[in-house]
Symmetry: C2
Subunit: 226 residues, 2 copies
C-alpha cells in the first residue's frame, strides 16, 4: 500500500530531521547536558514516571523537561509540580516530535545550566521511532496492562530505543502479567536489551533507574572533559 | 513545523482514501453487512474485546474480522479461536489502515455471507483518525489504566468515532479510575457521545453493547430493504 511519492517526500523530511538532530546532539554535548527521551503508547505512565524522575533528581542535579502532545498543556502542568522548568510542545495533528520542534522549544534556554534534559514524546508506538531528537538515551516504556507482546507488534520503536522500562508493576498481579513472556518478546526484537521494572506509584525500581542515569551522566562528563 | 509539500501529498492520499472508502461503503450496504471498526492505543484491549464479541455474536449472526498490525499475526491467531473467519493485514511501518488495504483484504470474500464485519485498526490514537474505512460505526476504546484525560489529548480520534468504550473496568478500583472525570473529558471533546463501560474479562457491559449492535444491524437492514 506504499505511496511512492509520499515515501520520497517522507525520506526528505527524515533526512532534514537527521541534520537538525545532529546539530542538537553537538549542542547537548558541548553544554554537558545528558538528554533522555521517553516514548510509549498513550497511557503507559510517561508523565507520572517523569514527574517522579524530576523530583528525585532535583536535589542533586539541574533538570528540565520538554513534553510533546497533540493538544492540552496538562502534562506540562503536572510536571511543573516537580518545580523543574518544563515546556510543552503542542504538535497539533502531528503524531511525533521532530528535532526542529525540540530546537525551537529550547531556543531561550541556556543549556549549560542543565545536567539532565528529558523529552517526553507524543504517546505513539509507531511514528516517533523514525525521528532522531539528538538524545543520548531513548527509553521505551510499556505498562504491564498493555500485554506482553507489544514489542513483537511494534518492533521498530523497541529497536530504536536503548532501554525498555516496564511500568505500573504494582498492577502486575491484578493483570496476571507474564514477566518471562514480556522479556522474551523484548529480547526477540532486540537481544540483550536492558529491561527495568518500575512503579512510579510505589517507587519499585526507581533507585536502580536513578543510579543508571547518574552513571551515564558521569561517563558522558568524563568523555566530554578528555 | 508543517511541511507544505508533505501536507499537500498527504491531502492527496486522504482524498484517494475517501474515494476508495466511499466505494467500500456502497459495497457493504448492498451486501447488507454492518461494519464496525475499532481504534485505540496499543494495549487497550481491542483484541480481547473483539474475540469476546465474535464468540458471543456467532450463535445468532454470521461474523468475520480483519485485524491490522505492523508485524505479527498474533491477533489473527487469537481471534481465530472464536472460529470466525479472520484475516490479518500487516502494515509494515504504516501506522494505520487505509481503505485500499481493507478492499484488497476482502477480495475473495463474498460479503453477502456476512452480517457483521469487524475491522481492528493498528493500535494508535493519532493516525487512524483521518482514514475512513467505509465502516458504519467506529468505536474508540480507552482502558481505565490509561488515565481519564486521553480524550483531551487525542481529540481527533474521539471526534471521528461514534461511541467511546471504556475497557478493563475490572481494574477501575485498582487504578482509582475517576469515572466522572473520564466522561467529562469525552463530552468536552464530543458532547453527547455515547459511553459504554466494559470488561471483556468479567463480561460487564457486554450485553448492553451486543444489544446495541443488534439494534443497529436491524435498523440498517430495514433501511436497505426500503
Amino acid at each position: 500500500m506504499s505511496e511512492p511519492r509520499l515515501v520520497e517526500v517522507r525520506r526528505n523530511v527524515l533526512k532534514r530531521n537527521d541534520v537538525v538532530a545532529r546539530g542538537l546532539r553537538g549542542k547537548f554535548c558541548q553544554a554537558g547536558v545528558f538528554v533522555v527521551s521517553l516514548v510509549s503508547s498513550p497511557g503507559s505512565g510517561k508523565t507520572t514516571f517523569l514527574e517522579r524522575t524530576l523530583t528525585e533528581l532535583q536535589p542533586r542535579y539541574r533538570v528540565a523537561a520538554l513534553v510533546g502532545d497533540l493538544a492540552t498543556e496538562n502534562d506540562a502542568i503536572r510536571l511543573a509540580r516537580s518545580k523543574a522548568p518544563v515546556r510543552q510542545i503542542t504538535t497539533g495533528t502531528l503524531c511525533h516530535l521532530e528535532a526542529a520542534m525540540v530546537e525551537s522549544a529550547l531556543d531561550a534556554w541556556d543549556l549549560r545550566n542543565l545536567d539532565f534534559l528529558f523529552i517526553e514524546n507524543v504517546g505513539n508506538l509507531v511514528c516517533p521511532s523514525s525521528y532522531d531528537l539528538g538524545e543520548n538515551m531513548r527509553l521505551v516504556l510499556m505498562s504491564v496492562t498493555e500485554g506482553e507482546d507489544k514489542p513483537l507488534k511494534y518492533p521498530t520503536i523497541f529497536n530504536s530505543s536503548d532501554i525498555a522500562v516496564i511500568t505500573k508493576t504494582d498492577l502486575a498481579t491484578a493483570v496476571e502479567f507474564d514477566w518471562d513472556a514480556a522479556e522474551k518478546s523484548i529480547h526477540s526484537v532486540r537481544p540483550g536489551m536492558k529491561v527495568l521494572r518500575l512503579s512510579a506509584k510505589t517507587g519499585e525500581g526507581m533507585s536502580e533507574y536513578l543510579e543508571l542515569l547518574s552513571r551515564q551522566f558521569a561517563e558522558q562528563r568524563a568523555v566530554a572533559q578528555t
